[in-house]
């Protein structure tokens, strides 16, 4: 059965509408959302309400968490003072706009969703704030999937869609009894089956080189993954950004396919509360 996975909507209603229309056109009725419904974009309530209306199972993103809990991520999750100030501004604006009902919805989102051996998270199984980049150390990537007891891990957060297969994973363990006396040793090798990390990219704030929204379609039977790009009315969102009083630079970045949420340089950093 084919199912669609969407992520990082970032309050971009036009992009979400276009992606859902594309999914509907494929005849797919199982959709999972990996969070970050809000933040930076101009239509937080509209986006949350559309997700609720379509009853799309959703896990909590870092923005969904922060907008409820307050800005509790440590400063170093921002790559620069400029990004931090803009992020705080977007945070404050979004917090002011969101209805109490929609805040409750975000507050009650689960950290992860599981369907058999498929695991759905925003950042990584460890944290909504951790980036699983495509070039991450293979052992560390395998560890994230294996310890979460998943065959396929769906994530977002990087805004850059990719499919990574982790093959030939093996762990060799040698146990020696009585090291000083040269006791018997036992060696064991554990071979791990293929694991996959599938990043869904971003609906509302693409960071893959153009302005199209991205999401993925995964077929559980065949194992195929399709990264889909969907054009949408970018100008509609850009106008709404400016009209809403959010910084115009957000519209400029979106219009040019540049990210407005700059990624921290230390991608493996996990905030300590």
């Amino acid at each position: 059965m084919a199912h669609a996975v969407i992520s990082c909507l970032h309050a971009n209603h036009a992009a979400l509408e276009a992606v859902l229309a594309d999914i509907d056109q494929q005849g797919i009725d199982t959709i999972t959302c990996l969070g970050d419904l809000v933040g930076y974009g101009p239509q937080p309530n509209e986006v949350v309400e559309l997700i609720r209306q379509r009853a799309i199972p959703t896990c909590q993103g870092c923005w969904d968490e922060d907008i409820i809990e307050g800005l509790n991520a440590c400063d170093c999750s921002y790559p620069s003072q400029l990004a931090e100030r803009r992020g705080h501004l977007a945070h404050q604006w979004t917090a002011d706009q969101l209805s109490e009902e929609n805040k409750d919805f975000l507050a009650n989102l689960p950290m992860s969703l599981r369907r058999d051996r498929l695991l759905f998270v925003h950042g990584s199984p460890n944290s909504q704030h951790e980036y699983l980049l495509p070039n991450m150390d293979a052992f560390a990537a395998l560890e994230r999937v294996e310890t979460a007891e998943a065959d396929t891990l769906f994530c977002g957060h990087t805004h850059h869609p990719y499919v990574r297969e982790l093959r030939d994973g093996s762990i060799r363990v040698r146990v020696q009894e009585g090291v000083a006396s040269g006791g018997p040793s036992e060696e064991r090798e554990i071979n791990l089956p293929v694991r996959r990390i599938i990043n869904a990219g971003s609906v509302g704030e693409p960071r893959h080189g153009n302005t199209n929204a991205t999401y993925v379609i995964h077929d559980e039977q065949t194992g195929t993954v399709e990264i889909r790009e969907v054009a949408y009315d970018v100008e509609r969102t850009c106008r709404a950004i400016v009209e809403s009083g959010l910084p115009a630079i957000f519209a400029w970045r979106l219009r040019h396919g540049f990210e407005y949420a700059e990624r921290a340089d230390d991608a493996s950093h996990v905030c300590e509360r």
């Binding site: 921002y78 790559p79 620069s80 003072q81 400029l82 910084p247 630079i249 400029w252 040019h256 700059e262």
Partner: protein, 249 residues
């Protein structure tokens, strides 16, 4: 034998870079003067504010400032190479010294300077051929950044946005910017050339306290949005109280 050269050309054609090479190649004393130039129809000259002189003096500490009246009145050292930079949009109507803009002559005379040769970028083959643009309209904007210190990662983001059109169509941008570790960079960008130059100054400022050296941003272009630039600058500059407090990302 001393020599006085007047080098003119449009913004970003490479006048200062060419002058730096001449100064570095000359074995004797060198002097430098930057004239402000004149606006042309719809074309504003960018007030340099001393950026070029500060950069050249950093690279060549013994470079004489020919705008200094005391220098002008003092006897010239032997074998002085005097280089005069003149921003000028349109090519001179006559070749050689006959093409010197007459409006600058009184300024030069006041400083006891008389060019032996006039070279204009795009006209004289003694200068490198540069891919310069013909400007039809040009605004200029500048900001004094004296005492300011940049968060380095924010400077990188700001410069990217600036030269990619986030604050209007920028054709030319140059600046001297201070970093918290005491270094400063000469940042230079021209629409017709690929990439930006980020050239570190040789002189370091003391790591404690605010740097007192010249720091300035000059932008030329069309439809510039100074208010938006100011908002971003405020978010990029480190606070007065905590110049070293922002963690390096």
């Amino acid at each position: 034998m001393s020599q006085t050269l007047l080098i003119s050309g449009p913004p970003g054609c490479g006048k200062t870079s060419w002058i730096l090479k001449r100064v570095q190649a000359h074995r004797g004393p060198c002097g430098y003067l930057r004239l402000a130039g004149y606006p042309d129809e719809g074309l504003a000259q960018a007030p340099d504010g001393g950026i070029d002189l500060a950069y050249l003096q950093d690279q060549c500490p013994r470079l004489l400032d020919l705008a200094d009246l005391d220098q002008a009145l003092a006897p010239r050292p032997e074998h002085l190479l005097a280089l005069i930079e003149l921003p000028q949009f349109q090519p001179p109507t006559e070749s050689g010294l006959g093409g010197v803009d007459r409006r600058v002559i009184p300024q030069l005379e006041a400083l006891h300077l008389k060019p032996d040769e006039h070279l204009h970028f795009g006209r004289d083959t003694a200068l490198p051929r540069q891919d310069t643009l013909d400007f039809s309209s040009l605004q200029a904007w500048e900001r004094n950044l004296a005492g300011s210190v940049w968060d380095p990662a924010s400077l990188s983001s700001f410069w990217f946005e600036l030269v990619n059109g986030a604050y209007g169509d920028v054709y030319r941008a140059k600046a001297l910017m201070n970093l918290p570790d005491g270094r400063a960079f000469f940042c230079n960008w021209m629409v017709s050339q690929e990439g930006s130059q980020f050239l570190p100054l040789q002189a370091l400022a003391p790591p404690d306290g605010r740097p007192e050296r010249l720091s300035r941003l000059v932008v030329q272009g069309k439809g510039l949005d100074p208010a938006a630039i100011e908002v971003t600058l405020a978010d990029c500059l480190l606070s007065q109280a905590l110049p070293h407090s922002f963690p390096s990302a």
